[in-house]
Amino acid sequence: MATDNTNAGGFGEVSRVRGIAFEYLSLGASVIGLVALGVLLVYVTIDAFDLANASPEWLLTYFLTLVVPFLAFCLYSASDPEVTRRALSALGGGLVAVAALFTAIETFVAPIPRLSWQLAYLFVVAMPVTAYLTYIGSRGRAGGVGFGLVGRLVGGAAIGLAVGTLFLVFDSLVWFLAYTLGVVPAAALYAYGRRRSVNWAMTAAVPVGLVGLVAAVFLRGVIVTYPSDLIIYVWTLAIPVAIAGGLVVADRGSRLAGAATGGVPLAVAVAGGFLAGGFGVPGPTALIVLVTVGVPTAVYLHRVIDEGDGLVGLALPVLLVGGALVGALVVEAWGVPAPDPWLDASFVTEAPSRTAEDAGLYPAIVGSVIIIALVAVLSFVLGVGTSVFLEEYTPESGILGSLTRLIQVNIANLAAIPSVVYGLLGLGLFANLLGFGLGTAVTASLTLSLLILPITIISAQEAIRSVPDDLRRGSDAMGATRWQTTKNVVLPEAFPGILTGTILALGRAIGETAPLIMIGAATTVFSAPASLFSRFSAMPMQIYAWANFPQAEFRYGVVAAGVITLLIILIGMNGTAILLRNRAERGS
């Protein structure tokens, strides 16, 4: 802008019109795609939750009992009069502006389908303000504590459910033997070696563990009596998680506190697991979820109470649950007409159906979780291995250097191959030639792992490259070998970056549909897959199948609910990745 306004001193007038017009044109271009996507997302949300049929009273009730207390909490946490003033004026001014503008458009231009001014206010003003205040509030002490607690509750439940889902296809008895014979002795040897500085014990840990795993596979058929599932899960999952949580706390504070943080959630979870059957909830699932929610929450609570700052934030979950309950009570008591959302509890727990009312996504969700778990392991191992090889093990010049460059160029080209071609690779190689079967979870996982491998490798390389060279040289100077430097210095330092890149790549894999069609994945299955080699469906496959249904209830209701479920899972994964990255950036 330096020369725009200098018309003094004899220089000629410079027309600013063209420049300003161009600036606003380019600004418009950069937001037009986002605005289009935003409008589409608003409509799909309205359809999924049946908000078009929500009465204004219903919206107002929940706005007052749920949104207003949450905003008040954020403002309290931010405790900045300037923010409060701006937020209130945005909410108030937005109300007037949206109502006026909406009415004007409806009267003078054309009626806007399936949208009322209350909904428009909700999406255009209330949601952005809430998002902004959540961001501001989370930087305050109370808000940080509150969101940290809610994050652990929700994240723990999600991880617990995902782990429970994996045991639908993985044989829990093999896992029991492998854990008892392999993992426990290896961990014990390693801990002993570390504590007493006995080198041979640490070296022996890995072979002992491997022998135990192999023995487990062979003994699976030999041994006939096993403990019940619930006891297996207590022994193999709940106890180690509780011990890990206890150790974290014992490391920081007293042993007593450590025992309490590990022991109390463990006791609650075991009790919950045994009692859950009475409420019609599968015991093992209840046990796993209670442990994955309880232990991190207990560790977090101990830390927050220890620091003694922002304790008010601990009330946030109570505030949210209480607000929802009060809202439901008011709606019930006054008979406020409520919408009938397509996306509800039964949608995610039931099988697909020919009628829209009963249709559910459960088998597809299970299929997606299993595939993604396998893809995560495969692409993480391959991605880290390749990027370590390219960044740490190969020179930049010479014959080996040109091999490195060849691999690098090849990775860039792999990233640009259309996903449907990867599907053909899976069909021709994995499904038909190697005989993993059409549309099985194994075929799908292998195909998708190769598909996202370039993305994983490129992001892992960036993470490894950003490790300062001083650290490597320091390690070399102390006589470490290349592997020791990689293991002790480079990988720990680059780990958050690698994890972030992997999660983002997994987000890509979970939405891929074309390769799944090519390998013959089922569009609709009516029960969750029972093994890795049974036919399965995945969330995007089910959405694709439903989108072809001609009935309006499917097109506008069921599919919308499926889309929102998929997007929520995606947002959760990407949000976790971004949080990890931010935390790592703050830490270093």
Binding site: G19, F22, L40, G385, N413, L429, E512, L567
Partner: protein, 324 residues
């Protein structure tokens, strides 16, 4: 590193340790080899079945045939790729009309006009456009965009049509254009901009007259990458464009020159190469039939086209890059 008795042992003679080092190095090399093997495997898989296909259907017939019907009800299969190429071309060109200008303007705004704050918000938001699953875009096109267009601009539009699919493909590829172009524009040294201001140029003249020409190689390579992405896009067109392989209706126009009305193509359903593959995959997948092999021939076509475009984009970015 003399090996005399006084000097410390710097050679690490311990066999176990050297074995360990070698094992890990070998494991990492094996991981890297997987990426090369993937390329080879894709090529071999596509080629082996495509060769079988071309033994049944001559290549010339495949490349010049104007009828695509792999599984007709009454017999008489035909495997001509021309209608599929036309469908792919229509989607790609229409999407490019949206993605290229919008993406370039976005890149100019991000690199020249936006404040650091606005850039740090806009860039991750734009990446969201590329992160939405494509089947969701296809659903949006079918269920929201088509009815909206039908109600306002094109009442005669059919339910499955090329236009709304292309719009969605265009929106999806905006971030590809904008992020690569923006990188190229940000790499233009500030000296050039300052020199422009020194000559009395306005910000508009600096942006369009200096920055864009200086980064033209990066912009061009981003265009090619975006177009290659649009060619390979599958789910949006599968869901929203329908599956009718057809040649566009040729109308007799004035002066005897045959003319194709764009509306005939855009507002009707059509079929791209990717849709044809998905359609066959909906049937028998155990192998051995001509339609099965034809998928691989189509895949090979797609693979070669996108690979060539990537190589061209690489060459442009390398050769015409301005060195500063």
């Amino acid at each position: 590193m003399t090996d005399s008795t006084e000097s410390p042992d710097l050679q690490r003679r311990s066999g176990l340790r050297r074995l360990k080092e070698g094992t890990y190095g070998g494991l990492f090399a094996a991981c890297a080899a997987v990426t090369l093997l993937t390329t080879v495997a894709i090529f071999v898989t596509l080629l082996s079945d495509a060769v079988v296909f071309f033994q049944e259907i001559p290549i010339a017939q495949f490349l010049t045939g104007t009828n695509w019907s792999p599984n007709p009800a009454g017999g008489g299969q035909a495997f001509g790729i021309i209608p599929l190429l036309i469908g792919t071309l229509v989607v790609t060109v229409t999407a490019a009309f949206i993605a290229l200008p919008v993406g370039t303007l976005t890149a100019i705004y991000l690199s020249e006009y936006a404040t650091p704050n606005a850039r740090s918000i806009l860039k991750p938001l734009l990446e969201i456009l590329a992160g939405i699953p494509t089947v969701v875009y296809g659903y949006f096109a079918l269920v929201y965009v088509t009815p909206a267009l039908k109600a306002t601009l094109f009442p005669e539009m059919s339910t499955f049509n090329a236009l709304s699919a292309s719009i969605m493909v265009g929106i999806m590829t905006i971030p590809m254009v904008s992020s690569i172009s923006e990188d190229a524009m940000s790499a233009v040294p500030d000296d050039l901009r300052q020199a422009g201001y020194g000559l009395g140029a306005t910000k508009f003249e600096v942006s369009t007259g200096i920055v864009v020409p200086a980064s033209i190689s990066g912009i061009a390579s981003s265009y090619i990458l975006a177009v290659s992405r649009a060619i390979g896009e599958t789910m949006i067109v599968v869901v929203a464009m329908g599956a009718q392989a057809r040649m566009p209706a040729v109308r007799e126009a004035a002066f005897g020159i045959p003319i194709v009305n764009p509306a005939d193509v855009l507002l009707e359903s059509g079929m791209t190469i990717t849709v044809a593959m998905v359609q066959i995959a909906g049937g028998d997948l155990t192998g051995g039939s001509i339609p099965y092999d034809s998928m691989f021939a189509l895949g090979l076509t797609l693979f070669v086209v996108t690979l060539v475009m990537n190589v061209i984009s690489d060459i442009i970015a390398q050769r015409y890059r301005e060195e500063y």
